[in-house]
Amino acid sequence: MTVTHTRADFQTDQEVRWCPGCGDYTILASVQNFLASLNRPREQFVFVSGIGCSSRFPYYMNTYGIHSIHGRAPAVATGIALTRPDLSVWVITGDGDALSIGGNHLIHAMRRNVNLKILLFNNQIYGLTKGQYSPTSEPGKRTKSSPHGSIDHPFNPISLALGAEATFVARTLDMDREHTTEILQAAYEHEGTAFIEIYQNCNVFNDKAFIQLTGKEERVHNRINLEAGKPITFGPNGEKAVVLEGGEAKIVDTAAVDPGRILVHDPTRSDPTVAFALSRLSHGPYGPTPLGIFRKVRRPTYESLLDHQVATAIAKQGPGDLATLIRSHGTWTVDANGHAVEAGANGAPKAGSNGAG
């Protein structure tokens, strides 16, 4: 079924309560516009979030939605996706929600390849709790909870997702709506978990964290756009290039290398090694940083495998019959006089299982 939508169809009557100037507004607009462009009935979308500023997102989407508990959105979304493959299920999360308290659920959703679109709003700070360092804050960062500077080594979310063997891994920027939309489109079309890290500016607690990638002067020097099938070069005139050297990705002067040595981006490589090498080019938005799709490979989704098992079992055994099931461990019959008259099928009680938890 197709319908015609505008962004307004995906807006709710709830007042959006992010701080004025928050990057979340831009992302919300990008997502609403993108969904409107799909001409798909809005009741088929479910947005699931955890806790944090970004996790208020579902309240502003006129779709089905659950604002769940801290870190658990991928688990809740998994329950929806496994039982309702007809729906388009989106997870909205942040760096604290997904990478700290919810790290376990994030990696397991990705390794299973559940058909979820996970948007991780990375602002490198805890916003809702008013300014503590997060698992992506840079070392030495001074915050309310790290007055002497953070001594936590930060996660590189792209490296983490690739390590968990996510089948779709991408990074984009809140400010760049065109790029965001491109990535959303590719993620939507991808069958399986799509992990998108979105650099999102928190103008209250961590303003200009991404200035190297968004500033008019800076961005042209620091954005490494990953485009499938193209040699990876960047800079105002493409004067920088990425090459592989000893298994590592390195930035070199384009003029200084044989053009044949410049790495041609291929997100469809089944082995994640090269994608991982690209993810190591930056450890945060502090200098040249790749944006775009790092990895996009095919692997059956968890729910398709589960549905296949159900279909196969029904084909082989026929649809389940409860009366047969409760007789499957052997039966006997007691007659009107109260005496056992006939033993049924062989077999009977199963011993209890062993093992500790």
């Binding site: 009741e43 769940s68 688990a75 809740v76 649809p319 049924g344 077999g347 209890g352």
Partner: protein
């Protein structure tokens, strides 16, 4: 028929009878004990199966170490399986065995103290070597030092006899001695006049892909049986006649299996797909194992990455329109606590199964306890009352699962269903229900807006106080739910003080009114008038309490029994029932949880009988407490 019927121990009667003689017993308790690797659970289960098809009533109690294979020959490695068979409707697996099979010194040492005075001990003599005796902590060989003189000792060189029996079957190496449990089983089949066909047929079917193993087990089984025929020591045998039970078709079922089947039945009764999100934990894992086998029922099981993900996925599945169930044991339920509050706040239907085990912390994972009752009622942050139901026996799990689902769906609430290790792994005969007569517990999804303002996800039903269940994919009913407090009717986020009071009261009221939708508590009353003592129980203590009450009545006491399925809310008539009694005894496998609830709710000075030993009550323990409260009855002499 009464549980205090005279029960001669199999040791009664001289061993030197000139010819085989059969002595009839009304019941007998047998315990198989050996190393975890000795196959005692299998032997016990087969003995049980043969007795079930023979028509005895029965109850079983397996006991095994938490370690998969504790060091061989040691006391911690001992695994046992106790079964009581009877010609009447028994209620427990028995307090003390009449007959003990001990496959090694450790098994003897650990289990002998439980054996009835004068009981029968069957030992595998070849395991009583110096090394095994030392491992069990015996300084002298009990088979030789006279310490077993007061028992009827049957010594059998089981290993060499098994080796001899299986030599032409094709098994070799370690497989040879694996059949010795079937030798022991064969000997018991002779000794207790059990039918042999069910065991032989079972071996043929179970090992049809390993014919040599089937042949070896059958050969060992027959050899054990024939050993019984030809040995003087087993000249006297025993029989337990079939029980007189209500007519019907029966199967023998464990609590975990009955619970799994009950969930499948509940899904059919609700006309919903079943989703079971869980994480492996003893003793709940068998529910997952059983459900995961039945994909052809459309059952989707999900082994999550942890307990929180297990319930998280279940909440998602509930939102998406499934009969959504999660299961665990105490430690896992603790991890789920925050998510149960979310399900409570979002008012989604969920069944949370807690197969209780001895705690706290890791505790004793394979031992039963009822110590999660207060945790079930109060172990959440905020004002979050949820319905709590308890299963009374293995077969009761089937109906209890359907009832838990009914309440969850009708009232849009998480429901905690309590089982325990005793129910989960114990078994009993179950008269099969007519599955066409299952109650209709279906709840229609919302399909159209319920107000002029559009769809109001928290507009409550006038009667049940429940909110509508609108599932994704339904056009026009798009809505958001979450853990933040919601405005009445609209479900929009609200921090309004009056609204929070209203919503808190509404949620509590919704759960409290379930009291009007559950059966009143029934009293099993001895006479026309309330007796001198009411015993109030819940959960797996059912059998032991019932049996103790029978004995007490036979001894002349006026003792009544009520057993609670519903722990929250209580049945509407509970207070009125309790006030009929001057004395109320509440036996629990905890420090007095129901006792506290009853005292707090009804201001009644009930007294407790509390045991936290990781094992079920013995009938005699409850009986003794009754005597303590009511005084030794005059008939006591006649009884014993």
């Amino acid at each position: 028929m009464a549980d205090n019927a005279t029960t001669p121990s199999p040791s009664v009667g001289p061993d030197d009878q000139p010819s085989a003689r059969v002595q009839t017993l009304d019941r007998v308790v047998i315990r198989f004990a050996g190393d975890s690797g000795d196959g005692m659970q299998v032997a016990g289960a087969r003995f049980t199966a043969a007795s079930a098809t023979f028509g005895n009533d029965l109850a079983t109690l397996p006991s095994f170490p938490a370690e998969i294979r504790a060091p061989a020959g040691t006391l911690p490695g001992v695994s046992s399986f106790q079964v009581q068979i009877a010609d009447f409707d028994i209620l427990t697996a028995g307090d003390a065995p009449d007959c003990l099979v001990a496959m090694n010194p450790a098994a003897l040492k650990k289990n002998l103290p439980d054996l009835k005075p004068g009981g029968t001990v069957i030992v595998n003599t070849e395991a009583f070597d110096e090394r095994n005796l030392a491992k069990a902590g015996y300084e002298t060989n009990p088979l030789e030092d006279g310490s077993l003189q007061s028992y009827r000792l049957i010594q059998v060189p089981m290993e060499s006899l098994t080796k001899e029996a299986v030599k032409d079957t094709g098994v070799s190496g370690r497989d040879v001695l694996r059949s010795k449990n079937f030798f022991a089983l064969g000997l018991l089949a002779w000794l207790f006049n059990r039918p042999t066909e069910p065991t032989i047929e079972w071996c043929e079917q179970k090992f049809k892909n390993k014919p040599e193993v089937a042949a070896a087990n059958i050969a060992a089984f027959k050899a054990g049986y024939n050993f019984g025929i030809t040995t003087d020591a087993t000249r006297v045998t025993f029989e337990v006649k079939p029980a007189t039970l209500p007519p019907g078709t029966y199967t023998n079922v464990t609590g975990n299996i009955a619970l799994a089947w009950g969930l499948i039945a509940a899904a059919q009764a609700a006309d919903l797909p079943l989703f079971y999100g869980t994480y492996p934990i003893t003793p709940a894992s068998d529910i997952l194992h059983e459900l995961s086998r039945h994909r052809n029922f459309g059952v989707k099981t999900f082994q999550a990455e942890d307990e929180i993900a297990a319930i998280g996925s279940t909440i998602g599945a509930a939102f998406a329109g499934n009969l959504a169930v999660t299961g665990s044991s105490g430690p896992g339920i603790a991890l789920k606590s925050e998510a149960i509050s979310l399900a409570f706040m979002t008012e989604l239907p969920l069944v949370v199964v807690n197969v209780q085990r001895a705690g706290p912390s890791t505790g004793m994972p394979t031992k039963p306890e009822q110590s999660d009752l207060l945790f079930s009622l109060y172990g959440r942050h905020g004002e979050s009352p949820v319905p709590v139901l308890a299963i009374a026996s293995p077969s009761d799990a089937f109906d209890a699962a359907i009832e838990a689902a009914r309440i969850a769906l009708k009232y849009m609430t998480p429901v905690i269903l309590l089982s325990d290790n005793h129910i989960a792994n114990g078994s009993e005969p179950w008269r099969l229900p007519d599955v066409d007569e299952l109650p209709d517990i279906s709840v229609p999804f919302a399909t159209v807006p319920n107000s002029e303002k559009g769809f109001l996800p928290y507009l409550r039903d006038f009667e049940t106080f429940s909110r509508p269940w609108a599932i994704p994919g339904t056009p026009g009913l798009e809505h958001r739910i979450g853990g933040l407090e919601k405005e009445a009717n609209t479900g929009n986020v609200s921090y309004d003080p009056d609204n929070h009071q209203l919503m808190t009261d509404s949620r509590a009221w919704k759960v409290a009114t379930i009291a009007n939708d559950i059966p009143p508590v029934e009293v099993d009353q001895a006479g026309d008038e309330p007796g001198d003592l009411l015993i109030l129980g819940w959960g797996s203590t059912f059998g032991a309490i019932k049996a103790a009450v029978r004995r007490a009545r036979n001894a002349g006491h006026a003792v009544d029994h009520a057993h609670l399925r519903y722990l929250n809310p209580f049945p509407a008539n509970l207070g009125e029932v309790l006030r009929r009694y001057e004395r109320i005894l509440i036996p629990e496998l905890n420090s007095g949880h129901l006792l506290r609830l009853v005292r707090a709710e009804f201001l009644i000075p009930a007294i407790g009988l509390n045991k936290i030993a990781g094992e079920p009550f013995r009938i005699a323990e409850i009986e003794a407490r009754i005597d303590e409260i009511l005084g030794e009855p005059a008939q006591v002499a006649a009884r014993r």
